[in-house]
Point group: D2
């Protein structure tokens, strides 16, 4: 009997439970037993491992978060931890590990794989910035939440003739800002990939005002920065454990600067943690399920050291190493679509 | 022919359009013509008045915000403005005014009424703190939005074993915090009516942790304050034009203080403007429609100087003066219900 | 130690879990133990009883349905079943029963109470037609679901210049049709309380068409009937175990008749079971929680044979008998509000 | 100045307004004037054409349906109509037509193109069954609505230990059933592509029951048929103008047959028109916007007779002819994923 251990690492993300369920259920068809590792790599170091049956995963498909818990523990920071981890793999009779996580979690998976431990990776990033896959689950849910928020802000912006700035997730890549911004009809979208020019932004908003549209929506990724003024933001910023700017960040900077330049009220909303919570969209549940099925299939084929990925409409397997190597920034053809609607 | 003028003042609120529609449509049955005043009292001073037909209000029932625009203009700050306002009432042949707004807007309505201008008031406060009515439209929608946010934060709190602090609207009264907190299963609810004790809050959260519930949700109204430490918050706070704390407020204060006291990660989310945006709930559409119908009926009966209000399940008319006088704070029997669930 | 048994009977309803949670948690404060009876009265006959701890009710507040299961078993249909039920009350050491249900479930509770068994009732009816309480939980959620459906149908009706008929729950009372109809801006609302006249309905829809509004929404409660033609519907109808018309019912009848009378496409949507599913609204979670708290308090006070109820904004206790006696039909003042918007 | 005429034909679909907006706004950048043709090809025959400005399309991005109206008129059924259509193209100075529609609407576009009229096509099918494009807008929204309905039905199915049958759109292809079924955790998915065997379905549901899962969800596309028994359904069926089964269809057939075979309650819900109504998802808004931008770009490049299409993540242009030729049935690799979860 093959025993498959599953863990989730890094920030939580809608769809994690759908992956876990799909690995367990597909594994059962392949004749695997499943165990769950609590709280990411930490649980494998600590020996916090429990059986996962069909009943453990009943009803979890629509649930946000992860029933396994998560952490950011990196066992390679401590030699003894790596040994404990190896001991626990033996102790619990683990034949293969499915590691669901982002850059950090998969980085550990990659090292373990090179040490000969049978690992399969499933990419997780709500920001959609993992290089080796076209899309990751959780992203569509985050986009849906942000778009709904923009819809809400539209009515209040219009009633008060205001500029509303919405700060969304995206430290290194502006995928959420771009896609939700287009979906929400944003009048300006600012992303980390392209330092912004306040004069250009101001010009667009003024154009709209002069055409009688006395309100505007500006969507800004938390990692966006003004040209040559990255320091200005950095000073007022605080960052959380993801390096995400949480207070005094670019949203507040924009509010202050736009109010100076425009004779309009400007308000800022920092969406924060609600972007990663709650039930996944249908799209994300299906993608996560497909990833989980494919991960179990890789184990059946003993095709280790690979990560599942979406290419076009197909699920493929790529070396974990490849996945960790590249940041995927926003498609500029997509980003340009947003600008068609600026100033109008 | 009676000409009824309608205006919306103060912060926008889901349900304003439902009131406007109901006044116009009920007025048409009574044989009234309707005109819309743009941007609150400002539009009556500036002569910004337009016809409102059945077609103007078609399709607006489910829309957030106000098709008439809004402002915080107080014409009584300027003698000349009051004269302009009176001139415009004559110029546009206005026989009665329906003023939809909160304390400030209705305060102006009250003064005009005393000057002999035929005015009818409709109470509007998303915070539910107007004294003369049991409930106001917009409140149920805000509660629904906050509850959905708490649901989302639950999944992420649980996955990461975190305390999540959610700062919601409510400067003078904690209605949104209390009702959404109970609906969302909050583990602590802090409101302006009762200065909070950090030691007690910490005790509740520790109790939960020790019982194996390694995450908690704290809902705090923006106007809540710690015992004897109101200054601490005031220093780091910024307020918007409603006096709402927007940055560095009580949510961030709590995050910092709880992290010091607990050996847990604490995160804060400030919900902000999304609480007042978007399509009203069915409940608010019905209440707003009932208010609009009742306002038009008051005009038919030439019963001026009154405001419509909800008492139990009935719509009644009360003197506008009464409405403006009293702040309605949270029902303590309701608030106590929340505490049954603390620490468990 | 007092042992409190909880059961849910009849059709499921959003908010049942919130009641169960509130009884268990409030009971714990009062020093009670809690047990759950599976599948309504059936479980008490069959001895299907299990402990309910704080952990059993963790996370259930936002969940639809009932964790205890439900059935329509009436033990009084069988003498032996009543004896088994009494034996099981003794066997499991049950000191008090909280029965959450509608007319049938509370009817059994009433009989048991008269036999000296300590029972407390919590009213449950998604149709809002229980006489002794102003509102019941589940109703607001059903109204929200129906209103959202009407919003969706508006866009398709308008695009295709169609009449859309929406059949909703409400066999004996038209509460859902009335409240959701007003909230959704229905152009005609038909309820069981008032037999409808097809000529009047047709007249209203034609008026709209002639005014350039080339689409209409008709909301009809499943129990509504045309004047003097109840037989026509009955012939084509099928009913489910609630007596709810599910196929060939009044919606289809209206579709056929309106198409004959109008030169327009008419489509029908029968909303069915989705009206009682899913997460309760914030409003229903709070009402259900208040009911559960009050039920536990009644037990503490040994005030048996009573049912909790909402009167205005207060929770009160009324004899169960009273609750079962009266059907609460739609408030005609509310219903008349809808007609203000007909034909316009 | 180039004048671009836009029309929408066939059944309405969330995202049509997003396409219209994108064509108008992108066209403005290219220096085009835009006019709207009312109610599909009918409006071009009748000369029902109106200017479309930037202001006409303000605020329509999140709105369902189509501001232009729609119809199923085929001008080629009548020689004189084709002549009127050509006359109107000249009369209104139309230089190019953007036809947004399905098989029928694009079929007309194809014929007009062959007659030398400059036409560009945008594919629209909520069923996702147009051959030349990977996905069409509206499909993701329909899937989201169906998934939400399945989530709701889960709670009621579980509480009552029932089998719930959900009949969804999909006459020729089972895309909605497959994707929403996987997302909703359906225990059986039946589609037109594969005639179903009632014994197999019954076997799966019994397996679940025996494993203690006393409820099941069956999702069935309206066009699904039992092996060798297509007639049975046909007899009891009624079809609407799309050929969609609306009453007595496969859902009811399944309910009856499964109740005979299983000792369980079976209930059916026919979702109907709500599947195509309401605000498009973020995903559909973006896809529709990309289609609209690409259509305007094709006109700029005078690349007529083409239809925009999604291939992988790219928008491409394909001959309209190709699009109309092929029905795209469900990807069998995707469909098989669903079966992993059957019986468990």
């Amino acid at each position: 009997m093959t025993t498959v251990a599953i863990l989730t690492g890094g920030g939580d993300c809608p769809g994690l439970n759908a992956v876990i369920r799909a690995v367990v259920r597909t594994g059962a068809k392949h004749g695997f037993d499943a165990v769950g590792i609590r709280d990411g790599w930490h649980g494998l170091v600590a020996g916090n491992v429990e059986p996962l049956t069909d009943y453990s995963v009943t009803g979890i498909l629509p649930k946000g978060g992860t029933i396994l818990g998560t952490s950011r523990t990196n066992p390679f920071k401590n030699e003894a931890d790596v040994q404990r981890l190896r001991d626990n793999i033996r102790k619990f009779g683990i034949d293969a590990i499915v590691a669901i996580g982002g850059e950090d979690t998969l980085g550990v998976a990659n090292k373990l794989s090179k040490m000969g431990i049978p690992v399969v990776g499933v990419p997780k990033t709500i920001d959609n910035d993992v290089g080796a896959t076209d899309y990751t689950f959780g992203f569509d849910t985050a986009v849906a939440i942000v778009t709904e928020a923009i819809d809400r802000l539209h009515t209040t912006a219009e009633s008060h003739h205001r500029v509303m700035v919405v700060e969304v997730m995206g430290r290194h890549a502006g995928w959420i800002a771009t896609v939700a911004g287009i979906a929400g009809g944003a009048d300006e979208i600012l992303i980390p990939e392209i330092p912004f020019d306040l004069d250009v932004v101001t010009h667009h908003l003024r154009l709209r005002y002069e055409r009688g549209k006395k309100f505007s929506i500006v969507v800004v990724a938390e990692g966006a920065q003004p040209k040559g003024m990255a320091e200005a933001i950095a000073q007022s910023a605080r960052t959380d454990e993801f390096g995400h700017v949480t207070l005094g960040g670019v949203g507040n900077y924009l509010r202050d600067e736009l109010e100076k330049r425009l004779d309009m009220e400007v308000r800022v909303t920092v969406l924060g943690h609600i972007q990663r919570g709650g039930s996944p969209t249908a799209h994300d549940r299906v993608l996560a399920t497909r990833f989980g099925v494919a991960a179990a299939d890789l184990i059946k084929e003993k095709d280790f050291g690979k990560m599942v990925a979406l290419r076009g409409n197909d699920i493929v397997a790529v070396p974990i190493e490849e996945a960790v190597a590249n940041l995927k920034t926003v498609d500029m053809d997509l980003y340009k679509i947003a600008s068609i609607f600026y100033g109008g």
